[in-house]
C-alpha cells in the first residue's frame, strides 16, 4: 500500500513536471533529470507490487498489473545507449514526445486510481 501511494504521488509529480515543461516553466534538462530519477524506483516498485500480488495469489490484480509492469520494463530497456534515460532532454520536444509522455502518465494515473479503489475494497472487504 505504501509503495502504491508512493507511486501515485510520483505520477502526480510526473504530470506536473511535464506540464511545467510544456508551459516552459522549467528547463528541459532539469525536468528530465528530475523525471529520470524516478524511473527506476517506479519500475522496481511496480514490479515488486506485481510479484507480491502473484505470491499472495491475487490473480486478478496480478494480471491487471502485469502489462503495466511489462511496459515499464520494456520502456527502460529500449532506451538507446546514447540517451540519458527514458526522458532525454534533447529529444523530449521532438516528434510530440512530450505529448506521448503526458498521455502515458494520464493513462497510468487512471490505472492507479482504479487500482486504488480496488485495493481499498479488497482491504476493507477482507
Amino acid at each position: 500500500m505504501v509503495i502504491f501511494t508512493f507511486e501515485e504521488l510520483r505520477l502526480d509529480v510526473l504530470i506536473i513536471t511535464l506540464s511545467d515543461l510544456e508551459c516552459d516553466y522549467i528547463n528541459a534538462r532539469s525536468c528530465c533529470s528530475k523525471l529520470n530519477k524516478w524511473v527506476i524506483p517506479e519500475l522496481i516498485g511496480h514490479t515488486v507490487v506485481t510479484v507480491l500480488m502473484l505470491i499472495s495469489l491475487h490473480w486478478f490484480i496480478f494480471l491487471l498489473n502485469l502489462p503495466v509492469a511489462t511496459w515499464n520494463i520494456y520502456r527502460f530497456i529500449m532506451v538507446p545507449s546514447g540517451n540519458m534515460g527514458v526522458f532525454d532532454p534533447t529529444e523530449i520536444h521532438n516528434r510530440g514526445q512530450l505529448k506521448s509522455h503526458m498521455k502515458e502518465a494520464m493513462i497510468k494515473l487512471g490505472f492507479h486510481l482504479l487500482c486504488f479503489f480496488m485495493y481499498l475494497y479488497r482491504y476493507s472487504g477482507c
Binding site: L21, R29, S81, G82, H93, N94, R95
Partner: protein
Amino acid sequence: MISQFVGSSPTLGSVLTAQSLEPASKSVSPSLCPSLTPHSTESPAQNQMHVPSGYGLHPQNYIAPSGHYPQGPGKMTSLPLDSQCGDYYSGLYIVPTQNVVTPNTANQQPGAQQMYGRGPPAPHIVGSTPGPFQGAASSASHLHTSASQPYSPFVNHYSSPAMYSANSSVASQGFPSTCGHYAMSTVSNAAYPSVSYPSLPAGDPYGQQMFTSQNAPTVRPVRDNSFSGHSTAISHSSPLPPPPSHQYHQQQSLSGCSTLSWSASGLPSTQDNLLRNHSGSLATANSNPTNTVADSLSCPVMQNVQPLKSSPVVSSVLSGASSTRTPPAANRPVEPVASVTQPSELLQQKGMQYGDYVNNQASSAPTPLSSTSDDEEEEEEDEEAGVDSSSTTSSASPVPNSYDALEGGSYPDMLSSSASSPAPDPAPEPDSAPASAPTAPQPSKMAKPFGYGYPTLQPGYQNATAPLNSGVPPSSPVYSGFQQYAQQYPGMNQLSSSLGGLSLQSSPQPESLRPVNLTQERNILPMTPVWAPVPNLNLDLKKLNCSPDSFRCTLTNIPQTQALLNKAKLPLGLLLHPFRDLTQLPVITSNTIVRCRSCRTYINPFVSFIDQRRWKCNLCYRVNDVPEEFMYNPLTRSYGEPHKRPEVQNSTVEFIASSDYMLRPPQPAVYLFVLDVSHNAVEAGYLTILCQSLLENLDKLPGDSRTRIGFMTFDSTIHFYNLQEGLSQPQMLIVSDIDDVFLPTPDSLLVNLYESKELIKDLLNALPNMFTNTRETHSALGPALQAAFKLMSPTGGRVSVFQTQLPSLGAGLLQSREDPNQRSSTKVVQHLGPATDFYKKLALDCSGQQTAVDLFLLSSQYSDLASLACMSKYSAGCIYYYPSFHYTHNPSQAEKLQKDLKRYLTRKIGFEAVMRIRCTKGLSMHTFHGNFFVRSTDLLSLANINPDAGFAVQLSIEENLTDTSLVCFQTALLYTSSKGERRIRVHTLCLPVVSSLADVYAGVDVQAAICLLANMAVDRSISSSLSDARDALVNAVVDSLSAYGSTVSNLQHSALIAPSSLKLFPLYVLALLKQKAFRTGTSTRLDDRVYAMCQIKCQPLVHLMKMIHPNLYRIDRLTDEGAIHVNDRVVPQPPLQKLSAEKLTREGAFLMDCGSVFYIWIGKSCDNNFIEDVLGYPNFASIPQKMTHLPELDTLSSERARSFITWLRDNRPLSPILHVVKDESPAKTEFFQHLIEDRTEAAFSYYEFLLHIQQQICK
C-alpha cells in the same frame, strides 16, 4: 607568499586556499613543465628556472620533460608534498597578483579583465567610476571626405570651428543623433560607431574598435576602468551617471576643445539620459539639441522652442551643399533642413527642455531600453558587402550605411525625397528634423542592378538606396512612404523580371501546376539552377517578404487544415539560415523594441495597423498599442506614420538589444583550442597547419579588445599553457590525473589575445615541434573536454577540439564499433547513434554555460563520430571531418583543412545566443533539426551561432486556419556579437493560406521539401533503422504523387504524373537514396555516413542541395554567352547537365560541383587545346593522377574556367577541394558515384526508380 597575496586581494586568496587543498587531498601532483619543449634548443622558452623571481616558483615542483615523460601516463610525479603544492600554487597565483598590481600597459585593462574572469560580480565592483559608455566620438571619417564644406556654416553656429574641422566624420555622428533610434550598419560602420555615447571613459571592449575605426584623434584617454565602461555599455538602461559636474565640465570643454567635437556636445544629453534612466537614443547623445528637437515631438512644450531653430543661414547652406552634391534633386525643400539645424542658443535652454522631456519620456516609454548605436559589423560587414557586390545597391558604395545617417536626414537626396513625397507633414517635420546632419555625403551611390541574391529585398530598405520615385534618379537614399512605393512598383517589376524565373505564378494556370509526365519527360532537370518559388502574395507583401535564402517553407501555400495537409502527403516545415552573411541589414537602435504584449512577437511588416495608435499582431491577433516613440519615423523625419518605420518595412532587421535582453554582461569572445597531440596526431601533422593558420588569422579572429584565447593539448595527460602576460615564455602545465581533472591555474590559461600576443605566437610557433618524439598513443579526450568545460564555464565561448583517433582513456572512452565487413551491407547499418551519453551530457553542460564545442575530426581509422558528434550537436557547435587526413600523403585534405580553418577562424560568430521561432496561432512546431539544444517548446539554446549553421523545423496545423488568409513565421535570434553587443536578428516570413489541394501542390518548394525530408530521414535512421528511413523516403514520393494523381481528373493510370512544382521530387529523393548518408550496398565507412548525416542536419539549404544533387557543367566550351559580371569579372554560366553518364562525352571536360568537392572530369579524347590552355599540360596522357589546382594561365579559356570555379567557390562555408579526374584514373569511381541518374550495382537508375514508384502507386 600566500599571506601576502591574500592581503592584496581577498577574493583571490580564498580561491587559492581552496585550490591548494585540492591537490593535497588527491594524490595528484600537478607537475609544471616550464619549458615548452623537450628540445631545449628549439624552444623559445627554454628554461623554466628563469621564471621571474616574482613568481616564486619552486623548481622542485617542476619536471622538465626531457625528451619524454618519465613514466607513461601514470601520475607524473611522486612529489605531492603539501608544502610543495602550496608553493606551486602560490607560484602560480602570484602571477595574477603581479598583473593586477602592476599593470603593464598604460591602461589597466588586464586587471579588469582578470576580474571578469573571476566572476560576474567583479566587473561591477570595478566599475566604481562608471561613465556611460562612450562611442569615443569615433566615426568612420572616410565616409565624409566631402563633408567639410557643408560643415563650415554649421561650425559657426557652434562657435567652435575646430570641432568640425577636426574630424569631418563628425557629421555622421550627428545624424544618428537625430534619427536617434535607428542604426543600420550594413556596409561600413561609418555612421554610427560612437555616436550615441558621451565621451566619458570608454568601455575597454569597445575602445579598440573605436580606435581602429576612427581617424580623428578625438578619443581621449578613455581606456582605463575598462570594466566599468563595459558594464555600463552593456546595460544601457541604467547607466551610472557620471558626476554631473564632470559632465558639465566636459560640456564646457566642448567649446574649448577642438577635437572633442560632438561627443562633447553629447554629454549633457547623457546626463539627461541618466535622468530618464535610460540612456537616450543616439540622438540624445550626440547632438542633444537635435535630439531634444526630435523628442519634442512627444512633448508639446518643446515645440515652443522650435521656431528658434530654423535659422535661414543654415538652411541656405544646406541647400547649397546638397545642390553641389546631387544636382538631380533640384526641388528639395529647404525647410526641413532649416528646422533640422539648430542654433547654438538652444544649448542654453537645454536644461529646461530636458526636464520636460524627461517627464514626458517617463510616461511614454514604460520600458526604457537603451539605444546605443555602436558600429559593430565593421569590417565584417564590409567584407560581406564585397562578396556580393552585384546584388546590392547601397552596399557597394561608401554610402552612409546606417539608418542613423539616413535618418539624420541631412542628405540632400533625402531631402529631395521628402520633398517629392507628399506625405511628410510640414508641421511635425521641423520638429523631427535633425540638426547636425547636413553633411552626409552620398558620394557614390549608384543604383546598381539588383542581383538575384536578394530578390525580395525589404522594400523600405531598398528605398533607402534603390530607385525611388519615378522621376528621381535611382540613387536617392530615401526611406520613402507608401506613396512612393506606388510609384516605385514599375521599377520593382522590372527588377523581378530581371530576376528571371522568380515570377512563376503570374499566369492564371500556374506553371507550377502543369502536369508533367515524369516517365516521358526526358530532361527533367532545368538548364538553370532551381529557384525558390515565390509565395503567391500580393505585390506589397511579396516584396516585403523574407529572402528565401534565410527563410523557406516547404509549402509556400499553407494548407488550411491538417486534413488538407495530410491529403497532400507533403512535409510541412521551415528551413532557416538565420545568421547568414548578409550584404544589407537594417540595424535598429531603439529605446523600445516594439513587441506584441501577449506573444512577444517583434513588430514586422505583416502586422496591421488598426489606426494610428494601435497595431494588431499577426501571430496571435492581439491588438497592441503603438508606443509613443514608434510614432516618429526617423527616416522620413515624420511623425504619426508608424507603418513607415524600418521595422515595418523590412522583414529582416536587427535590433540592438538593451540590458533587458541580457542575463549577464555580454561575454567577451573566448576561444579555446583543445588539441590532440598523441602519436597519431603528430603523425598526421595537422598541428603545423593549424598553428600556421592561427598565426595568420590571429588578428582576424572576431572579437574586441577583451578577446581571450587559450590552448590545451592532450594525449594521455592534459597539458595547459600558461600564457599570462609578463611571462617570458609560455609555461606548460601538465595534469596527469585524468580521473578527476582540475585546472592548475584558473586565471592565466585563458588570456587576453592582445596582451599576450607575443606569448601566443611563441606557443604557436613551438607547438608543432613540441611533440615530435612523443610515444604516447592514448588519447584522453573526455577528461580534456571536462577540463575545457571547467575553463570555459565562467565566460562561455567557443571550444575547438581537434581529435585524431578514438578516445581511449578516462571518461568518455569509446570502443571501436565498426565492422568493416558490414560497410557495404544492404541490410542493417548499426551504430548510427552514440555509444555513450557522456558527450551528450557534456554538451548539455557546455550549452548551459554558453560554451559551444566544435569538433575537427582528422582520423585515418574509425573514430566513432556518431558518439563524438554529440558534443557538437547539442552545444550548437559544428563538425568538420577529414577522413584519412595526412599532411603529406593527402595534400588535398590538408589544403581543405587550411581553407576551412581560415573561414572558421575569421567568420562571424555570435555568442550566448537563443533562437525562438514563432508562428501564427493554429500552427505549431514539433520537431527541430540542427545543432542546438531545445530548451523549451520553441526556444533553441545556441551557445554559439555561426553564419554557416542551418536549421529545420517541422510544423503541424493544430487549429484550422480558416479565418485567416495569411500565416507568418518569425525567428528571433538573440546573440552577443563578437564586439560584446547584444543583438536580435529577426526574420519574418509571410505565406498565404489556401483551401484547395491543387493550390497546395502549386506552392511546393521542392528543394525545401527534400531538405526537410533528409533531416527527417536522418532522425528516422538513428531512432529506428536506415532501411526504415529509406522506405520512408520512397514512400514520401509515392504518397505525394499518388495523392496528386487522385486530384487530377483525367488520370491516366499508365503514366506517372506530377505537378510541375514537384517534377524534381523523385529525382531528388533518388539522389538522397544514393547519398552517402542513406545509401546501402555501396561500401561506406560508418564515420563517413555519420558525417554526411551531421551535415544534412546542420547545413543550410543552399549547401545541402549541392550535397544531395550535385551540379554538372560542361566546361571545355565555356562562352561568354549569358555570362554574369561579378566584381568586374566575367563569369560564364554554362547550362546544367543532368547527372548521367550519357551526358559525358569523351571529347569534353566536365565540372561537378558537389558542395564540398569539385570534380573536373577530363574525357579521354578531350581537346588538347583545352588541356593545354586550362590544365597546362600538353596532352591527356601527361595529366598527373592527382591534380588539385588549375594553373593560372594567361589564356581566355583558362580565365573563364577559373573565374567560373572561383565564382562557385564563393560563399561556401566549406571551401571545396578540386579534383581533376582523368577518365582512366581509379579516382573516377568517386566521380561516377555522383551520377545519380545512372544505375549502380546496388541502386536504381532514375528511370527504374520512376517505374518502381509507378508500381507502388498502382498497387
